[in-house]
């Protein structure tokens, strides 16, 4: 493990432990640690294992998936602004998830929701990447993402407009805003296969991402199989983002902020960027979820809202000061 990954991992563990301390019932650290080790009362164990730990782990897993997907897409599209949220991948995945919720297809089995979200994510990644690679313009890429996001949002609004009752409406709002509250280890387990497959595929493509820093023609000259590289990153990022959306709904900007912060510490090498971006993405979302719980609001803020409130200004800042055109 590189030094930057080590430092970030330590931070992640600390943030996870801290997040377990938060909740409606005050629980000191020794009882939390006891519960994790199955050495505490049944009530404590239930609280930690059924409520707090799944929530914190879900935030970490979603952040890791989004952080790595952002880093991989930025490497493939050679663009620091590429990110599942900006490119409309998260929105499309959320739309597909909402669709199966709306038509009650989710009752067919626990895998329906993750499969729907992953399908939406893969479709959107494919559309964006095909358009971006044909056109090769940064502006076009972002515009296509904006278009795709808007279209998904419009269809989502349509579904909400037609929602039969306030309960399905609030379900959908939850999905759009993104949250990890009330997640169980079961929810995590059903997303896990897609998430693990996505991350594994992205890690397999990482050396090719280094070659792509020189441009596509030079990368081909270096011996990169460009077609396989593109397919790999699209499939990997689509699977991981879809799994993240299935777990937490649409959460934006993690995928752009995490790689951007890590990049100078890995000598701007996209291959070495993937793992620390995932760890930092996890850390950011765990911290954002801690923030959500600490803010004294009547209604608990949604994680996706907080992530966007922090991430969107950073996006503008990154976009306004790129070094190499």
């Amino acid at each position: 493990m590189t030094r930057v990954s080590g430092i970030l991992s330590a931070g992640l563990v600390a943030a996870l432990v801290f997040s377990l301390l938060l909740g409606s019932v005050p629980l000191p650290l020794d009882r939390i640690l006891g519960a994790i080790a199955f050495q505490a009362s049944e009530g404590d164990q239930l609280l930690v294992w059924q409520i707090r730990l799944p929530r914190s782990i879900a935030a970490a897993v979603v952040g890791a998936a989004l952080g790595m997907s952002g880093a991989a897409l930025q490497g493939l599209l050679r663009n620091p602004l590429a990110e599942p949220g900006i490119l409309g991948v998260s929105a499309t995945a959320a739309l597909f998830a909402t669709f199966v919720l709306y038509f009650r297809l989710v009752t067919a089995g626990p895998l329906v929701l993750p499969i729907a979200a992953v399908s939406g994510a893969l479709l959107a990644t494919l559309v964006v990447a095909a358009a971006a690679l044909r056109n090769r313009s940064v502006v076009t890429l972002i515009l296509i993402g904006v278009g795709l996001s808007s279209f998904s949002a419009a269809l989502m609004a349509l579904l909400m407009n037609l929602a039969p009752d306030p309960f399905s409406l609030s379900d959908m709002v939850n999905w759009m805003l993104g949250t990890v509250a009330n997640r169980s280890f079961e929810d995590i387990a059903f997303s896990a296969p897609f998430l693990i497959a996505g991350i594994a595929i992205m890690l397999l493509t990482r050396r090719g991402l280094s070659a792509l820093t020189l441009g596509e023609e030079m990368a081909e000259g270096l011996g990169l199989n460009l077609k396989m590289q593109r397919l790999g990153v699209i499939a990997g990022a689509g699977l991981a983002t879809g799994a993240a959306v299935a777990l937490a709904g649409s959460i934006g900007f993690v995928g752009i902020v995490a790689p951007h912060i890590v990049r100078p510490f890995v000598r701007y090498d996209p291959a070495r960027l993937l793992i620390p971006s995932a760890i930092l993405g996890a850390l950011l979302l765990v911290l954002a979820d801690v923030g959500v719980r600490l803010l004294p609001t009547d209604n608990e803020l949604k994680l996706g809202v907080v992530a966007s409130l922090i991430g969107a200004p950073i996006f503008v800042w990154i976009a306004s000061r790129r070094r190499l055109a």
Binding site: T213, G221, L222, G223, L224, R267, R323
Partner: protein
């Protein structure tokens, strides 16, 4: 047998032939320059020769094997390519960019074997970039950056080096410096194929010239044999005076459009 052999390569896009029946050979120890007007098909011919484009007909063979049948990695171990467009997006350090030249050998900037490191250091030394290893790409001048890209291409230490306008946009000093490096590499036994627009540089440095016009190779030979005022008129549509200065060298004086 030649190191590289192109046999009647043809390539057509939307009914327009970009390269037509192009045949040529490249020998070790020879600096071959491809010259021709804009749109003659030079870059397309390079891409066909490298196997990055699949020809409609004809074959390109490198060390006896058909380039279109070589796996990308196998091909990249035999021939290094420096394209005209060299778009960097991140301010990476020089050493990491040069190290990417070792990609076909399984290397990445964060994962270099001892051999990869040695080859990277040799390429950096050849291109006079010592001391620049940790400089960020966006702090370099155009001349320095072009030497970084050349070093990247040299790091693979292939028998054949193909470059597309490696001295375009360089000032005269750097142009000569880069072509000196090319000459030295040829003397060391490498085969080089490069597109050059400056005919004066071509006359001065090329061992052999390939003249290209409208997708065809119209002449091939040493500068002294092939660079004539007739040929400059037919290929480039320019009026020029050629003088033999001594047994080998010629001097070129371009007077204007024909």
């Amino acid at each position: 047998m030649s190191l590289f052999c192109a046999d009647r390569l043809s390539y057509t896009v939307k009914g327009k032939p970009l390269v037509l029946e192009a045949s040529f050979a490249l020998e070790p120890g020879t600096l071959t320059m491809l010259v021709g007007p804009n749109g003659a098909g030079k870059t397309t011919l390079l891409r066909l020769a490298l196997g990055l484009l699949k020809p409609d007909s004809g074959t390109a063979t490198l060390e006896g094997s058909d380039v279109s049948k070589l796996a990308p990695v196998q091909r990249a171990r035999k021939v290094a390519y420096l394209p005209q467009q060299r778009p960097l997006i991140w301010p990476q350090p020089v050493r990491d960019i040069v190290a990417l030249g070792r990609f076909a050998f399984g290397a990445a900037p964060g994962k270099l074997s001892r051999e990869d490191e040695a080859a990277t250091a040799r390429a950096i030394a050849t291109c006079n970039l010592e001391g620049f290893e940790e400089r960020a790409a966006d702090t370099l001048s155009g001349g320095e950056l072009s030497r970084v890209h050349l070093a990247r291409a040299l790091a693979a230490e292939t028998a054949l080096l193909v470059t597309d306008e490696p001295v375009a946009a360089l000032d005269p000093r750097y142009q000569h410096e880069v072509l000196r490096i090319f000459s030295d590499l040829a003397r060391e036994g490498k085969a080089l194929l490069t597109v050059v627009h400056d005919l004066g540089l071509a006359a001065r440095y090329a061992d052999r010239l390939l003249w290209m016009k409208d997708g065809r190779i119209v002449a091939e030979g040493t500068p002294r044999e092939t660079m004539t005022s007739d040929r400059l008129r037919t290929v480039f549509d320019i009026k020029a005076r050629i003088d033999a200065t001594d047994a080998e060298a010629i001097s070129l004086n371009i007077l204007g459009p024909a």
